[in-house]
């Protein structure tokens, strides 16, 4: 499964690219500002210069930030397309949100509540809808978030690469039980998943 | 302030009212012919023409200053852009 690019990497790359530039910019602007205030304080620099503008400088600081902003946009868009293009052969799970829990339905017809069990190293596509108000499925570990809307089918996909437990939450305010609408994602080995998904547990 | 307030003659007002009534008749008439999706557009066109009459005559826009006329057009344009941009979503969903 190494030929599939995990969108987590793309999202993180975009994030670090943008936040990196932001830190540099913030640091520079703050330092310059503080330096000016101290260097040109009235007691030390009583006669101000009369500078009203400088079109070369102004053009430069319109042009350069525009280029940087466009580069940020591109990085964000690449990450977004990564999140949206589902690779072939993904395990499809139907997700139904309701106040206040998550229902997961597997291809075999097996259902679980507030627990999503998936095999490791297999892309998983979630087809999401809601029974009542808008909810939003959020799995921080996989950078996945999409609204569950009644009457609309939305989707998300992720690639679990490590066996373990991750948490999922509702991120669209849905009422008094909003904060309790959490669940767990169990990433298990492929064999364990196949065995589990076939077994009839009385649902 | 529009320096002199314009008083519209009764004749103009009467003619406008008549035009509006005739156009209402046309709208009703147009619904009896089935042209598929064109029907909606015809109804909307007639409604826009009527709205135009009301604005220009009853609401005095014809006799207002340039600033107000442009402000109004800008507002319509703004609304059109807003609704248009929703179609980035709706048309491609």
């Amino acid at each position: 499964m190494t030929d599939i690019i995990n969108p987590v990497a793309l999202v993180d790359r975009s994030f670090y690219f943008i936040i990196g530039f932001s830190f540099v910019f913030l640091f520079a602007i703050t330092l310059v500002m503080i330096y000016f205030v101290i260097r040109y304080r009235r007691s030390r620099h009583p006669v101000p210069a009369d500078i009203r503008g400088n079109w070369k400088l102004e053009t430069a600081w319109i042009f350069i930030p525009t280029l940087i902003a466009l580069a940020m946009f591109v990085s964000g868009w690449q990450a977004y397309t990564g999140l949206r293009n589902v690779p072939e052969g993904a395990l499809e799970v139907d997700v139904i949100a309701q106040s206040f829990s998550w229902i997961f339905i597997y291809p075999t017809g097996k259902e679980t509540e507030n627990e999503l069990r998936v095999p490791v190293n297999t892309p998983v596509k979630l087809n999401i809808t809601s029974m009542d108000v808008i909810h939003s499925l959020y799995i921080p570990a996989f950078r996945v978030k999409v609204d569950a809307v009644k009457g609309l089918s939305t989707y998300a996909w992720f690639l679990p690469e490590t066996i373990g437990e991750y948490f999922l939450q509702c991120t669209e305010f849905c009422g008094v039980g909003h904060a309790d609408m959490t669940g767990v994602v169990r990433v298990v080995s492929e064999d364990a998943f196949d065995e589990w998904v076939e077994e009839d547990d009385g649902w | 302030m529009a320096s002199e307030s314009h008083i519209v003659e009764y004749k103009t007002l009467g003619l406008t009212l008549a035009a509006l009534l005739v156009l209402t008749g046309v709208t009703v008439g147009a619904t009896s012919i089935d042209l598929g999706w064109v029907n909606v557009w015809i109804a909307l066109m007639i409604a826009s023409v009527k709205a135009g009459f009301v604005l220009l005559v009853f609401m005095h826009m014809r006799w207002e200053g340039r600033t107000l006329q442009w402000s109004f057009l800008a507002t319509v344009l703004f609304l059109a852009v807003m609704i248009g941009f929703i179609f980035w979503d709706v048309a491609f969903r």
Partner: protein, 547 residues
């Protein structure tokens, strides 16, 4: 000279009652000042309650239902009753006519009506609290939840509806005033930048606010008649509401921030005694923000299920709108270069504004990028981001404006030392409050959560601690400002900061008729050559006496 406080009172309307029927823009501004301060302090208290509840896991001071109502109320009051009206309605009303050499706004009666609508909206909001349980929808009133919840959404929505009218009428009034009442010698490019920012804001108010009023009507129609506009089973569109809501509410954030930028553009050149760097670029960027800012609303909806094409378009436009804001920040900092800078409380608040607003703007880039947004959307990261822009931005501009124009409005100077301590306390508390929330958001803590997973405990504790510092700072600031009114010896000079815009050419507080002779308009609105020639001491004051 008698100030506007000593206006002759009509028979039967003495004292406070003469204020309630006043058409004087200065008195209306003060009516707004005290009503807005009341709502601000109430909403700050509610915000404190939210943080207190979240300081420790589990239920502490609020129940879940109560918590939901409190954050809704905090949002509704802060947005509709504080940030949107704060700068235009208080300082715009007071100083816009003076800045352009006018006696009053163009429609003084309409101005008073706007204040009454504002108060009516506030009262309806309070009534909804005590009638049937305050709505628990968040200030966004998303459908279908706002239609199906059985709390009192209709009344709260009606309150926002009334407040929308107040905002629109103020905008209309300002546009007309600027077009019609400018001093004959004042051309468009001789207007102060605060006035320019109000002009751009007023257009957005006038054009975008009707959209929210209609949208809120639709919510009420749905609640009472169940038409199905947003119900796909009956041909409606489930996320159309979000489009309509953000068509107003995104431009609204520019309604909030533009006047704040205008305030900073006034304070920085006066403190540096040097012309603003790039006057025309700042004017152009205000207009560009007003126009481009109206076209980016759907960046609040990347995860809503809207089309990928829309995500592409709105993400691209969002990055475009970042440029004019950056230009302003560069211009402010460049204005300081080779100035003769005097540190004053308004300048300190302005510098904090530039820093905090930059953080807010830069984290906005993370949110504007489509892929990076998905992870942090609707988490504490977003909450921290918009508090940096709204509170660190507009809120600090409001504090700066209070300290800058207080001596002009009341003729009293406050204590500088207390003002500095308050500014540092608020800023430090602010950082301690909101920086942990960025981290919490990246860890995945959603917003509007009453309770949270154990890994979020540390961040929430620090945030709560920071909030308490911040509230203490705000309290000290209020005590300092309001306390100055009671003291006799702190009468302020007419021009305590060495400003050159027209408000500093008239007495403090201004007389009933703003100008007794035609105001002298300068060719260039930020020409400090005369002030600077008068020597280093001119215009600056002794903080002890305020002279």
């Amino acid at each position: 000279m008698t100030s506007f406080y000593q206006t002759p009172e009509p028979a039967g309307f003495t004292g406070i009652r003469s204020w309630l029927i006043t058409f004087d823009h200065k008195r209306i501004a003060l009516l707004y000042l005290f009503s807005i301060l009341f709502w601000f302090l109430l909403a700050v208290t509610l915000g404190g309650l939210i943080r207190l509840e979240l300081m420790f896991p589990g239920k502490t001071v609020l129940s879940a239902q109560m918590y939901n109502s409190v954050f809704t109320l905090h949002g509704v009051i802060m947005i509709f009753l504080f940030i949107i009206p704060a700068l235009p309605a208080i300082f715009g009303n007071f100083f816009l006519p003076i800045h352009i050499g006018a006696e009053d706004v163009y429609f003084p009666r309409l101005n008073l009506l706007s204040w009454y609508l504002y108060m009516a909206g506030g009262i309806v909001a309070i009534v909804s609290l005590f009638s049937d349980g305050f709505p628990d929808t968040g200030w966004t009133f998303y459908v279908p939840f706002s239609i199906s919840t059985n709390t009192n959404v209709s009344t709260a929505v009606f309150a926002a509806f009334i407040l929308g009218f107040s905002s629109m009428l103020t905008g209309l009034n300002f546009i007309t005033t600027i077009h019609k009442l400018r001093a004959k010698t004042m051309g468009w490019l001789q207007m102060p930048l605060f006035t320019w920012s109000l002009y751009a804001t007023a257009w957005v108010q006038l054009l975008a606010t009707p959209v929210i009023t209609i949208t809120l009507v639709l919510v009420v129609v749905e609640r009472f008649f169940n038409v199905g506009l947003f119900d796909p089973a009956r041909g409606g569109d489930p996320i159309l509401y979000q489009h309509l809501f953000w068509i107003y509410s995104h431009p609204a954030v520019y309604i909030m921030i533009l006047p704040g930028m205008g305030v900073i553009s006034e304070i920085i050149p006066v403190s540096a005694r040097k012309s603003i760097f790039g006057y025309k670029a700042i004017v152009a960027s205000s207009l560009a923000i007003a126009i481009a800012g109206s076209l980016v609303w759907a960046h609040h909806m990347y995860t809503s299920g809207m089309s990928d094409t829309a995500v592409f378009v709105f993400s691209l436009l969002t990055f475009v709108v970042a440029i004019p804001s950056a230009i302003k920040v560069f211009s402010w900092v460049a204005t300081l270069y080779k100035g003769a800078i005097e540190m004053t409380p308004p300048l300190l608040f302005s510098l904090c504004f530039i820093y905090l607003f930059s953080v807010g703007g830069l984290t906005g880039l993370v949110l504007g990028a489509a892929g990076a947004n998905i992870h942090v959307h609707d988490t504490h990261f977003v909450v921290a981001h918009f508090h940096f822009t709204m509170f660190g931005g507009t809120g600090f501009a409001f504090f700066a404006a209070l300290h800058y124009w207080w001596p002009k409005m009341f003729g009293k100077m406050y204590d500088f030392k207390k003002a500095y301590i308050a500014a540092i306390l608020v800023t430090a508390g602010f950082m301690l409050h909101y920086v942990p929330m960025f981290v919490l958001g990246l860890q995945g803590m959603p917003r509007r959560y009453y309770d949270y997973l154990p890994q979020y405990a540390a961040g929430n504790f620090f945030a709560g601690f920071g909030a308490l510092c911040m509230i203490a700072g705000i309290g000290l600031m209020m005590v300092n400002l309001l306390g100055s009114l009671a003291r006799e010896r702190t009468a302020a000079a007419d021009d305590p900061w060495g400003g050159v815009t027209l408000e500093w050419t008239i007495p403090s507080p201004p007389p009933l008729h703003n100008f007794d002779k035609d105001p002298e308009v300068m060719d260039y609105p930020y020409d400090f050559t005369k002030v600077a020639d008068a020597g280093p001491g001119a215009g600056s004051m002794d903080p002890e006496t305020g002279k």
